[in-house]
Amino acid sequence: MDFQKSYYIIEHKNKYEIISHENLMALDKATYQLIQNFANRNEAIAEMIRLVGDEQEALKIKTLKS
């Protein structure tokens, strides 16, 4: 499988990031957590929107409870 043109969502420094294959290879493996690989940037962005939306929703619920 060709990963060269693919994108990744990672958790890096306590936030989600979209990163290209080339840039991921340059990162120290110990500094990030890989979430998922996507065939292109658009798919990664769609997933990023979902992830951030879910986090906002969870935070809203937590705030309402406290």
């Binding site: 499988m1 493996k29 957590q33 979430i35």
Partner: protein
């Protein structure tokens, strides 16, 4: 150990028994499936098994399977790194799936006999394999006989297996033991040492058996641990878990994960754990009659998975 010098080499390495994500309308969620498979390949798996036991294979139609596999190939997944499981109770459907695998150039098929009617005789089982294999079109088609008696409640006696292997040996590249009996893999290796590869799906047996390949449910979650179980025969690979005095060996990690899922329904449990890794609750859905876990099971799994403390070098 199999006599690998004299028998045909089947698949090697880690082949996850892929979980199948479904959308809210219970159709297959193609983008989630593709992303899951891409992620696993990036983490080092060698191939994927689709629509097998963990993949809820009996619950999806021929058309759904065909569209899914065709889509994955279009998306860049190499056909020779895909194995299709055939678990249909309809013989014509099994033949269609076999021809689909052949026409798309898949690595091979994982074949278990129909298991609705029981008991079946040895003659009946042999007849089924005779019938199906008579439809093989390509001399290169690879078949793996799938033993999963815990789910099918159907044993294929070793004498029947022997007859099937003798008759269709040119196509049979392996026998895959997905029973919970570790000793069955040992028995099969003794019986088929010079004939066919024996594969175990029990991750905690892999190093003991010096396995060269496995179809693994756990590989959906911890592919790197499963890779180490296959490739590090010394068992020296170990992971530092914060708070633990000694590093945990890969054998321990696999056994701990097996224990963690324990008595919970396994497909729902693995989907739940995958939903935690991907932070995506949609992964928890299954196609009926399977259902998500109840709240108490979620809480128990949550608590134990936190204790398990999955490390990024294991995923």
């Amino acid at each position: 150990m199999n006599n690998t010098a004299t028998i045909k080499q089947g698949f090697t390495g880690t082949w996850p028994d892929i979980l199948t994500p479904v959308k809210s309308d219970l159709s297959i969620d193609h983008p989630r499936l593709e992303s899951h498979i891409r992620t696993l390949f990036f983490k080092g798996v060698n191939g994927v098994v689709l629509f097998s036991h963990a993949g809820e294979g009996t619950l999806f139609s021929f058309t759904e399977k065909s569209e899914t596999i065709t889509g994955l190939i279009k998306a860049g997944i190499s056909p020779d790194s895909i194995m299709l499981s055939i678990t249909s109770n309809s013989v014509p459907d099994s033949v269609r799936l076999l021809h689909l695998a052949e026409s798309l150039g898949l690595h091979g098929v994982l074949l278990s006999p129909p298991f609705y009617y029981k008991p079946v005789s040895s003659d009946g089982l042999i007849h089924y394999f005779d019938y199906l294999t008579s439809y093989i079109k390509s001399p290169n088609t690879k078949l793996y006989i799938h033993l999963l008696p815990n789910s099918t409640h159907l044993d294929i006696p070793q004498a029947s297996l022997s007859t099937i292997v003798d008759r269709w040996g040119q196509h049979i590249y392996g026998i895959v033991n997905q029973s919970e009996q570790s000793s069955l893999s040992d028995d099969l290796r003794l019986s088929f040492v010079d004939k066919v590869m024996i594969y175990s799906c029990n991750e905690t047996d892999l190093r003991r058996l010096s396995s060269t390949g496995t179809i693994s449910l756990m590989a959906n979650l911890i592919p790197r641990v499963i890779n180490s179980l296959l490739h590090d025969q010394s068992g020296a690979t170990a992971t530092f878990i914060p708070g633990m005095k000694e590093k945990a060996t890969v054998d321990t990690r696999a056994a701990d994960l097996q224990m963690l899922v324990g008595k919970h329904p396994f497909i729902a449990s693995y989907k739940y754990l995958l939903s935690l890794i991907y932070r995506d609750a949609d992964w928890r859905r299954s196609r009926p009659p399977l259902s998500p876990l109840d709240r108490a099971s979620y809480e128990a799994l949550d608590k134990n998975f936190k204790k398990f403390d999955l490390q990024s070098n294991e995923e």
